[in-house]
Symmetry: C2
Subunit: 408 residues, 2 copies
């Protein structure tokens, strides 16, 4: 049986999938490739189309959507599903926004939609959540879900680079998007967390509801402080289940050396899943890049051909409802250049001065943090979660000793 | 659609599966349970059968084989496959010995056989190898595949226990088999490695061909030496691919702190897979126990019902051939109570004396090690692989300094 495959997008990921198919099974190469820019110079002589109808209105069996634009992507993917096609997408922004509608289309028209590459690129975390936790009750999921942020943090810790130099290096190495703010502000992590939560907990929390702070305010003194405690800082996405729903938050967090997330360096991603039956499961792999991401797309393709579809068993057959996360109380270290920047955020908590910075260790509600995000952004306030790694008193002690630490 | 399920064996794993099904979907409980011992007191009032024909000669759709006896297990599983049934097994010894025949039965009679629980219990490593590495080229697989050996090593390193006390504790905690030699001599690791290699590389190396040394000779001085180097010792199973085939070996090995295997403690298992497209993927989870293992069985059951079957794509459609592993050269630390015990093994290498033991650091061929296994066993010779973690000179240095280390 041959499969007629249509591919939208021939960028980093599209070319990764193409290369893998070419070397493995040329019958899994796309018959049609649609891209956008007629004037772009191409380093290959493949025949490209600029008209989506060449896939949408032509009898293809499988559509693979790997474009950068989430709005067009939704158009393509929903059209394909309305024709009952098997569809593969890597578009986390689009999926996080539209999974409820897309699942309805899948059900109504009998097609299928797979999207392993959309969260943690090369790690088969969606498939594992979807088929290995059957009958299990997941209580917590934590992950490192942005390769470039993690690469940047590795440079801060291993090479004592400044944040801006680390961002530049990440771009040079091809780990950061052209506009690096999209990486360092954690915005693509929230899309991924929305997607993973649907599979892990059967609950749909739109990404704009999730407290999201990236690595953009991590300061050299934070790094020195963490090091003095034998800890690292990682950009950690957390979902925690309680009886009433899910609490979810993404922010830089301290990680101790007994936590498997401690060893996740450079462009690697990871996910740690705690469940009743399986205890703690941990997955680590490449979180970005042409071949790792293309490999997940290619695995989806072979699965789709075999008839594999996600079971969404945690939804228990119900329609997806949009929900809000619960408020969570987070133990955090807050620091900034001025005491004034801290005051509105921390309530009655004490402010300490060290290393020409102002610090407070306190417990803040995710809801309040979300309200203060504009001020946090404007005042470059650093917020680091303790993440259960260390007691508050030990941190205070270390902050006081920071005075004597030379910062390179 | 209801599925009529027959279950063989109602021990640790069978009861784990049963509990999960009962809480999740009672329609996935077995209709018939066959066990062996008529005189055993049962802590439950379930109706049990003692006659395999109650499953084999009665119309069931799915057979689950969770018995301790590999010979009977082969009988049951092959009978079920000959009736074209969907079959699930956790029996690593049986599978490692009979996968070639079982796959032929699967093909000939149209049934299917899943066995996620047989290797690394709760980790979905077989499914991931089978469907996430499509079109990829795996070059190396390393794993910690025996929970009780790993638990024992954790006790040696964290609590300075002697080997015999650690073994006792593992038994008390329920992590070791009644006859602990089966755990500590690594024999079940070789079964698992045979199974994993088939999925990762499409090659079948019977387990008795694999150099297998367990934790039974790890000595307190080995622990002290590793600690003095900032390393740990783990029982590592390795498969390495080269153009001519696979080299495979299982032995205690040094692991450095940047290796994700470094953090795998207690009853946890792990697998690290290096491939062309995905770089390094790492999986960690529980390697034994009623619920973790039952959870893998239950996940297999839900997959089997959806029609999922292993693709064995690395076999590329070929029939399984029995192969021998290639000889590999291993850098090792060899030590024993007498110089005479070392001499036949190490050839021209120098023998050092420290801490009332005799040591040599040398490169040995797996083939030669296999030949010397009886002498290694008889003389309680400790063999620890360097595993690329440290240079030989640093070890020598540390051995010499051991003299001055007090061993508790
Ligand atoms: N890069 C990664 O490591 C990675 C990892 C995980 C997920 N993803 C996701 O994968 C998707 C693709 O990412 P990428 O890195 O491959 O992007 P990219 O390198 O920027 O390539 C985007 C491709 O999409 C095409 N395109 C854009 N708009 C289009 C439209 N309206 N119609 C048809 N084609 C259009 C572009 O056409 P032209 O060639 O004509 O410009 C280009 O070929 C994104 O959703 C991204 O979030 C990427
Ligand atoms: N335990 C683990 O953590 C673990 C992990 C991974 C894989 N496994 C594998 O899973 C399988 C089961 O292990 P287990 O720990 O559950 O063993 P177990 O606790 O010893 O239970 C074995 C069960 O098999 C039954 N049985 C033995 N021989 C039989 C026969 N000929 N016909 C019918 N029933 C028979 C026994 O019957 P009675 O009740 O009458 O004695 C008992 O119910 C083994 O292959 C093991 O290697 C175990």
């Amino acid at each position: 049986m041959t499969n007629r495959i249509g591919l939208f997008g021939f960028g980093v990921v599209g070319q990764g999938y193409y290369e893998i198919a070419k070397n493995d099974r040329p019958s899994l190469l796309p018959e049609t490739i649609v891209v956008q820019n007629k004037n772009k110079e191409r380093p290959h002589s493949l025949q490209l189309s600029f008209d989506p109808k060449d896939i949408l209105n032509t009898p293809h069996d499988i559509g693979i959507e790997l474009i950068s634009d989430p709005i067009q992507a939704y158009d393509y993917v929903s059209s394909l599903l309305k024709s009952g096609k098997k569809v593969i997408s890597a578009n986390k922004k689009m999926l996080a926004a539209h999974l409820p509608e897309l699942l309805e289309l899948e059900k109504s028209y009998g097609g299928s939609l797979l999207y392993e590459a959309s969260a943690a690129a090369g790690i088969p975390i969606i498939t594992c959540l979807d088929c290995h936790f059957a009958g299990d009750h997941i209580s917590k999921l934590q992950g490192i879900l942005n390769g470039s942020s993690n690469y940047i943090l590795s440079r801060l810790f291993q090479d004592d680079l400044s944040l801006s130099d680390a961002v530049k290096l990440a771009q040079e190495k091809g780990f950061a998007e052209a506009d690096p703010t999209l990486d360092i502000n954690g915005s693509d992590v929230s899309s991924k967390l929305t997607i993973l939560s649907l599979h892990a907990f059967g609950r749909y929390i739109p990404e704009n509801e999730i407290l999201t702070i990236g690595v953009q305010h991590v300061h050299a003194e934070d790094v020195a402080l963490a090091k003095s405690l034998g800890l690292k800082i990682k950009l950690i996405a957390t979902v925690q289940r309680s009886q009433d729903g899910l609490s979810m938050y993404i922010l830089p967090a301290l990680v101790g050396e007994s936590d498997p997330l401690f060893l996740v360096e450079n462009e690697y991603n990871a996910a740690k899943v705690t469940s009743h039956n399986l205890g703690e499961q941990f997955f680590q792999g490449k979180g970005a890049g042409s071949l790792p991401t293309g490999a997940s797309v290619y695995a989806d393709l072979t699965k789709a051909i075999k008839g594999y579809a996600y079971s969404y068993d945690k939804l228990q057959g119900a329609k997806i409802k949009r929900e809000k996360p619960l408020t969570a109380s987070l133990e955090v270290i807050v620091s900034a250049d001025t005491a004034d920047a801290l005051a509105p955020l921390i309530g009655q908590a004490t402010i300490h001065q060290a290393q020409e910075r102002y610090w407070s260790i306190c417990t803040l509600a995710t809801e309040d943090l979300i309200k203060h995000l504009p001020a946090i952004e404007a005042n470059n306030v650093s917020i680091i979660a303790l993440n259960g790694s260390v007691r508050q008193e030990r941190i205070l002690d270390s902050i006081q000793k920071l005075e004597n630490v030379h910062l390179g």
